[in-house]
Amino acid sequence: MITLKINGKEHSVDVDPTMPLLWVIRDIIGFTGTKFGCGKGLCGACMVLMDGNAINSCQMPISAIQGKEIVTIEGKTENLQALQKSWAEFNVPQCGFCQSGQLITATSMLNNNPNPSEDEVNGNMSRNICRCGTYTRIKEAITHCVELKNKG
């Protein structure tokens, strides 16, 4: 049995300790907002927050997660919720499939750097692929969110 803390709740699962967190979240616990995109840590669709930092959950064996705080797209944190609001304002998603990962990466960036420069936004967000090509809107939404927070 491995106990995980996801979105503030504990879940005990009886699985192979080498199973990546992604599949535990999606197939065992049943949160499907975290997406499978490549299985190799290349596309960022599977991003979750581990102690506030974005990780590719498809690359993280569940044995390495014990004692860590995991937040998925279904979770609630100040930065995530502010970004989600901004996402809606700029009508960012097209198909939406990558947006969980995009939002988690953006949240992680703002957790660590409340005022990212454009280069820092590009650098952080380069971990995530959007095949629909919503990059310019993602960037606008992040910028807007930062501006609002600075005003607030």
Partner: protein, 728 residues
């Protein structure tokens, strides 16, 4: 692309009645003839669309087309709501299952809005008329004294009644045969920027994509397919696979040689996706490789290039091309070579299927739910009425998910294990077993007279045809695959378009903007080359090449209008600052193309520093007739620009001994944020009927980049991707 058939007004309203407490209005409006010829033999056309008004005022509008990011669930339903004078906050969008009663549901060919706009308007207007009649009747006043506004019918005296409160009375009202549509100046949603009705669900993880569907007792499966197209299983040793924790079973999946047939292989069934993948990797399979083991991309490119360097099948001939070359002051020729592409939607192909005896239920991200229903029914040898296709959100489609092969194979697995299963493709499966965008070689030759005017244009292309997927062995293009070359909008007296032979060795399919990618590339780059040869400015030269204002002769109901083509080109150039002084080393390249009945131009500003390309800004202008949702159109142009950049920068699928060499996003790269430039989109104001939006933004991007690089550096690149040239 065939015209729309006449509308039978009498057939417009099929029935009205009460269902689950609401007023249901169904329409059997008319048949559309189909786009192109790629599906013409396989679809039924019997549209039947739905509006349901509930007594609590909630309004259920059915989206008959699949949502894959193009905003169709919002655009189509907003048209009904607009004509109906409905309150958008009361609208609930319900996704249609795959059923012929909805008419053609194929979500491809950039066709949803352009083919359904009028139907949706009439649907909304009819409901509004019924509600006005109902209110007038209950108030005993003339209908002419009543108007509809924001979900209420309002009498001139000021009294008003909510739409929901009229449901009981409305069901007794006979349906008007003729309805008056709104004056476009009164549109509330159409032509505005309505946000996606799904934006919140798509930002909080709650939208259910195919991969997210769960049903009780569902198992997970992964399938090992032969690395060479149409290879079959000789033997399988499943011992090691069965030892993996979570693996339940191993079953063979049959191969069906038909357009949407599964490739076949060996499926590993497990309690979770990861175990299924691990089990799949542990299989030991011997294959009967097919004749496609001979497929090697390099030698194949040489062979189709040889075929365009000699006469081919004449698709179009005007004047006398040989004489034009003889008389020319100057001739110029170029050969363009473009590789296969894979769609790589962020959500891999997948399907949940539950077969119980004769009954089958499917949940899948599918662009063609009716084709899926037909193929599943055929596979199970059951009636289509026993098959339900539930359409989930699609995590991207781009044409890949128009082919329901992945649903048929999941059906085979569900049947074999006698229970519900989700078949999940890995990214490697997706890249290596796709229906690939075709590989192409094109030869163009131009004749220029002493005044710098183009007097001759020869365009030969050879590319494996999508027709080969439907008719194995076909090695020449279908008529619609020649059209984007034969419809070249240049006013040239001697013109010849020819097709060379090309065999298919992988499944060839349609990918966002399809044949317009290679044709749009060659036509736009070669025109730019001719401008240089003629010593003219590319914009001025191109406008002259397009020539006088005229409607190009096509077989379509839509107008291919050279004045629109010139307008979008001039506007894109202007928006990009074509006439302005640019920073040192910067240059703007142009391209303009007509596809899916829309006129689109791009002007792209680049610079090349230390051998590396930077794209600074993309200016896109589209004339798509009446704009339904301006924000969606803008988003589609932005997305198309990124899609076009991805294929220009990195897009390349190659085969060695029949097996695809790329496997995941490390060697089949797509654009990421640091390379995404500023994208400015202008939508031409128009009251003409709406035309395509999802695809026509793609074909102009790569050629405009190539033309810009030439202007900036003097180097002409005639092959893609640019990563092969070390530019990115």
């Amino acid at each position: 692309m065939a015209p729309i058939k006449n509308i039978s007004r009498r057939g417009f309203i099929k029935g009205i009645g009460l269902a689950s407490g609401g007023l249901v209005l169904a329409s059997s409006a008319y048949s559309f003839s189909n786009f192109g010829s790629k599906e013409e033999d396989i679809l039924e056309f019997n549209p039947n669309l739905f509006v349901q008004l509930n007594s609590n005022g909630s309004l259920i509008l059915v989206a008959s087309r699949s949502e894959m990011g193009q905003g169709v669930r919002t655009s189509l339903t907003s048209v009904i709501a607009d004509e109906m004078e409905a309150d958008w906050d009361k609208v609930i969008v319900k996704q249609a299952t795959g059923d012929a009663k909805y008419g053609n549901q194929n979500t491809d060919g950039s066709r949803s809005v352009r083919t359904l706009f009028e139907t949706m308007r009439k649907m909304g207007a009819t409901v509004k008329a019924v509600l006005i009649t109902a209110a007038a009747k209950s108030w005993k006043v003339p209908e002419s004294e009543c108007i509809a506004k924001n979900h209420f019918i309002i009498h001139s005296s000021g009294k008003k009644i909510g739409f929901g409160d009229l449901v009981e009375i409305a069901k007794e009202i006979s349906i008007p045969e003729n309805v008056i549509l709104k004056d476009p100046k009164d549109f509330k949603f159409i032509g505005k920027k309505l946000p996606s009705i799904d934006v919140e669900n798509l930002s909080n993880g709650s939208a259910v994509f195919g991969l997210d569907k769960r049903v009780p007792n569902m198992k997970f499966a992964a399938i090992k397919r032969c690395s060479v197209a149409f290879g079959t299983v000789k033997s399988v040793d499943k011992t090691e696979a069965l030892k993996i924790n979570g693996v339940l079973d191993v079953v063979e999946v049959p191969m069906l040689i038909k357009a949407f047939g599964p490739l076949g292989g060996v499926a590993v069934i497990a309690t979770n996706t990861w175990a299924a993948f691990k089990g799949r990797d542990a299989l030991k399979i011997e294959w009967n490789y097919s004749k496609n083991t001979s497929y090697n991309s390099e030698t194949f490119m040489d062979s189709i290039t040889a075929n365009v360097h000699k006469p081919g099948k004449v698709e179009k001939s005007i004047g006398n091309i040989d004489n034009a070359f003889k008389k020319a002051n100057k001739t110029h020729e170029a050969t363009y070579k473009l590789p296969h592409l894979a769609h790589a939607p962020m959500e891999v192909p997948n399907a949940v299927v539950s077969v119980k005896g004769d009954i089958c239920e499917v949940w899948a991200p599918i662009q063609s739910p009716q084709a899926a229903r037909r193929e599943v029914a055929n596979f199970l040898e059951t009636d289509q009425s026993n098959v339900t296709i539930n359409v989930t959100f699609l995590g991207g489609g781009f044409g890949r998910k128009a082919k329901p092969d992945f649903i048929v194979e999941a059906t085979a697995v569900s049947k074999a294990i006698n229970g519900p299963v989700q078949v999940v493709w890995s990214r490697e499966d997706d890249i290596q077993h796709s229906y690939y965008h075709t590989v192409s070689s094109q030869f163009l030759k131009g004749a220029i007279d002493k005044n710098g005017k183009v007097t001759g244009w020869l365009h030969r292309f050879a590319l494996p045809t999508i027709g080969s997927t439907f008719t194995p062995g076909r090695d020449l293009p279908q008529p619609w695959e020649a059209r984007s070359a034969t419809d070249v909008p240049y006013d040239i007296p001697n013109l010849q378009i020819e097709a060379g032979k090309a065999d298919a060795h992988v499944r060839i399919g349609w990918l966002r903007s399809v044949i317009n990618i290679p044709h749009g590339f060659a036509i736009n780059v070669f025109a730019d080359e001719l401008a240089h040869e003629a010593g003219k400015d590319p914009l001025e030269f191109r406008l002259n090449l397009i020539g006088k204002d005229r409607i190009q002769e096509t077989k379509d109901a839509y107008k291919y209008d050279t004045s629109k083509l010139k307008h979008v080109l001039k506007t894109a150039a202007k928006n990009a600052g074509y006439d302005k002084q640019l920073p040192e080393g910067h240059a703007i390249g142009l391209a303009v193309h007509y596809s899916f009945y829309s006129h689109v131009a791009a002007a792209i500003e680049v610079s090349v520093t230390n051998g590396k390309l930077t794209i600074h800004k993309i200016s896109v202008v589209i004339d798509c007739g009446t704009a339904i949702n301006r924000d969606t159109i803008t988003a589609q142009m932005e997305g198309a620009a990124i899609f076009g950049m991805s294929l220009a920068y990195y897009g390349k699928i190659t085969a060695k001994d029949g097996a695809i060499e790329q496997s995941n996003f490390h060697n089949y790269q797509v654009l990421r944020m640091p390379n995404a430039p500023k994208i400015q989109v202008e939508i031409v104001n128009s009251n003409d009927k709406p035309t395509g939006v999802g695809e026509p933004g793609v074909p102009v991007i790569a050629p405009a980049i190539i033309n810009a690089i030439f202007k900036a550096t003097g180097k002409r690149y005639r092959t893609l991707p640019l990563s092969d040239h070390g530019l990115v």
